[in-house]
Symmetry: C2
Subunit: 523 residues, 2 copies
């Protein structure tokens, strides 16, 4: 059997495999030619072993070396941008321009460069010095990190190039990437650019490794392997919870981003003031990437009145007019369709859409559903089901108290948005709703849709369970996302010359922020 | 049935209970008069409900109010220090002076005051501002925290007064304390001082609650209760792992400190230089608190030579001479004894001790065991069993490589110490051993025994699994220990006046450190 090679121990080599899989072009339904291997356990074992050796060597290297690698990788990706974007377009159906080439690819190389800058600066390690007692601590690499990338961002969240990858490498760890099987050739191209950058900058060969696919039980074994330091996962709640339990039972930190319906509250004053503008933002946010974003607004909350009806009319109209974009796979289509059906079964009414769409590939009608607040409140979690795709549920409340009740019943989410009147006529209502909503989400927005997660040091792309597995960590935003892949280490009475450079009285790097006797000091 | 009351919802009230228990004086074996209730689930449910309401109110209060409470509580404890220390002495057998009254109690009130100062300063929340994009984030209270205190520190780690308590309160959360059933009256006295401080400073009544004991299955239910924000536990690995799984399956952050044998490596040059001094430090560290410290040195690693033999002779001699101090309970004695026996069964030889000691109460002979490195390496984890008490195992290696191998096989520990020659004759050996040891521990010490955990901002009282449940967090050291009980919250485009004070452009508190556009700025 012929199949693409896996990247293990610094070399492209034949996988240990019995079965293969193919990617499809979801815009056409066409199966692509290249076969990819479903790795047997032997590939995982080899990768963990090699990663362990790479981790040892990385610890002895200056952070500048790691930064050089991240920057070389970013340059390599840019040099092959056309080919990578074309391949990703073929495997995902996402448009080359602007999405893949002009937005996601620049974002991805920007993340790599931010991570390089953070590695070089050193402040991410939060060095803390108690000079009087000679006790010092900082964050240090945790060991090999396994990154499971999701289906919906072939670059920016890819296990071999995305935010988790950049954060894990920048904090000094080798990465074992589990590519998503919906875009294997894209991942292969990226991995080759990474491999070249490893060679160019002289990092340990196994700093970057990648396999394409593996059996579920091997995934569970991999995340609980004694040689693994930590795990990052972005994907479905079902898969995430299985990996979570396996990793946690083995005492491994695992960071999961699993599901979110991203409630958007549209207060009446805001609708009275600027309905058309808000409708436009909402529609664009719901349909961007065919709604396949973890921050896609799946739930719209409004008070019953004519503006709410007008907004729904507008949304329904545009949902009907716009051609549905392809979903990422036939499985994604069937999942989305059954999600919509389960919302209907739970009592939601279809306003528009609801069916599989005509046309080539895997497409679903842009779908708007509605329900009353009462329905939402009595059905428990049935109307909180995430539908990953171009569908959204509007819930119309007959009184402000119902909105508050709904917010109180929400599961943990990544984001929560509130639109309010600039005239301030919504201020009292905002004050009633915002505190409760804030506690259910990782990021509270005002007058903004949740899609478009800025790579900012102040970003929190995280939130309460079950949106993620721990409310204290963010997956986006450098340097905060890096500490997920680090262990806190303390040096108590350790001789000056034996300390890591970052903890010595005099630090070589003038850019590093450290907390010395309670004050933050640079250099 | 008459039994002490539990503190729920701000009031001392009769527990829901069917059975009671009594503390014992472990120095005499005498059962103490007061009966304490084993709470039924109804007490847990009531406490969580009340804590949820308190959490809501605490969020709206200025941090100064919380700081005032912590300081009032510290003062109240000091005012009742004699009574509290006498009671703790009766329940634990630990000496009133210096241990309880002059060391642990001052440490405890110092922790409360440091936590108050941190709450007041505000820097713990790590406010991060991206002014250009108007994205801001900080840590905020996570919700009601359940704290399980251990048996060995009736004040400094007590669920109602210790480090976890102080950190959870200072970060703005109510605490439900599960007192340790070996010192219930001590806990009751402390809880009463806490309750008075709550009243004095006008905090929500249920900010501080306490139950004494509950069935194992109710413990599992409690840590997975939807109304609980996070859990802290200090105790045995067996109990810890059960709670860990229950909490994690429910998506709750749980911070556990479970077990550690705290390897101490004595390099040959250090022994040649200052054997008597090191022997003294080692003996004092092993026998302090009858060895019932989480950082007690359970494992001594040395190279085979005459100095090593001389050190063991000295330790054995003093172990024989010093009267064994009482252990905390009959269960502790039987656990310790079976631990020593299991080490013998795994191949360790008894140098001295090994039996239950004569005298009143629960005492075990000061026990020194030894084994060869070869034995240690072939028995896997059998010789890494933590023996909680006045026993220690010396492992003598025939070559430096064996020491390295042993370090490579260690499970995760809280601490690892290396003594080396001031003449620098051990430097090469140190360089071989320290990197491997450092990765197995949360705190690496030079020329210091691990007992005595300073409350320093740079402290890490944590370490890799199974010493704790996550290597990124410390249980001691303010403000770092506080973020365990906080959720990261981001405000994206939120109007200035709607932001928490700590995230506004102009902050009222001139003492708070914030990270603004990448630079740490005060006030």
């Amino acid at each position: 059997m012929d199949a693409a090679q896996v990247l293990i121990g610094g070399k492209w080599r034949e996988a240990n495999f019995k079965t293969t899989f193919h990617a499809q072009n979801p815009a056409t339904g066409q199966t692509l030619a290249q076969a990819f291997p479903v790795s047997e356990w032997a590939d995982c074992e080899a990768a963990v072993l090699a990663a362990g050796e790479a981790a040892e060597k990385l610890r002895t290297m200056a952070p500048e070396r790691i930064a050089d690698f991240l920057e070389a990788y970013a340059r390599n990706i840019e040099a092959s941008a056309d080919k990578i974007a074309r391949t990703a377009h073929e495997e995902t159906g996402l448009p080359i321009a602007p999405r893949l080439k002009d937005v996601e690819l620049p974002r991805t190389v920007n993340q790599l460069r931010q991570a390089a800058a953070a590695a070089r600066e050193g402040s991410w390690a939060r060095a803390t010095l108690d000079l009087e007692r000679n006790i010092r601590s900082c964050f240090e690499p945790i060991g090999p990190v396994v990154v499971f990338g999701p289906n919906n961002f072939p670059f920016a969240f890819n296990g071999i190039s995305g935010g988790d990858f950049a954060a894990a490498i920048a904090s000094g760890n080798p990465v074992i990437a589990k590519a998503h099987p919906l875009h294997p050739e894209t991942s292969r191209l990226l991995a080759e650019e990474a491999r070249k950058a490893v060679v160019e900058t002289g990092l340990p060969p196994a700093t970057v490794q990648m396999i394409y696919h593996l059996a579920n039980e091997d995934g569970l074994k991999l995340v609980s392997h004694p040689g693994v330091g930590a795990v990052a996962f972005t994907g479905s709640r079902t898969a995430g919870l299985h990996l979570k339990r396996a990793a946690e039972d083995a005492g491994k930190p695992i960071y999961l981003e699993m599901s979110s319906i991203n409630p958007v509250v549209l207060l009446p004053g805001a609708l009275a003031e600027r309905l058309a503008e808000i409708a436009q933002e909402l529609i664009d946010s719901c349909l961007a990437g065919a709604g396949q974003f973890c921050t896609s607004p799946n739930l719209i909350l409004m008070l019953e009145n004519s503006s709410a009806e007008e907004l729904l009319d507008r949304v329904a109209k545009v949902f009907q007019e716009r051609s549905p974009q392809p979903l990422l796979s036939s499985f994604g289509l069937s999942q989305m369709h059954s999600g919509v059906q389960s919302l209907v079964k739970a009592g939601a009414a279809l306003v528009t859409g609801g069916g599989v769409a005509q046309g080539a590939g895997y497409r679903h009608e842009n779908t708007l559903l509605r329900a009353t607040a009462r329905q939402f409140l009595v059905t428990g979690e049935a109307l909180q089901r995430e539908v990953f795709g171009n569908a959204t549920l509007a819930v119309v409340a007959s009184a402000p108290e119902e909105l508050q009740e709904i917010v109180g019943q929400l599961e943990g989410n990544l984001t929560g948005s509130i639109y309010s009147a600039k005239s301030r006529s919504d201020d009292a209502l905002y004050a009633d709703i915002a505190p409760g909503l804030s506690r259910k989400v990782g990021r509270l927005l005002n007058d903004k849709m949740p899609t478009g997660v800025a790579v900012s040091p102040a970003m929190n792309h995280g939130g309460p369970y079950p949106a993620t597995s721990h409310p204290g960590f963010t997956a986006v935003g450098i340097p905060a996302s890096m500490v997920r892949f680090a262990a806190l280490r303390c040096y108590d009475g350790v001789w000056q010359e034996r300390l890591p450079d970052i903890l010595r009285d005099k630090i070589a790097n003038p850019s590093t922020w450290r907390s010395i006797d309670g004050a933050w000091v640079k250099g």
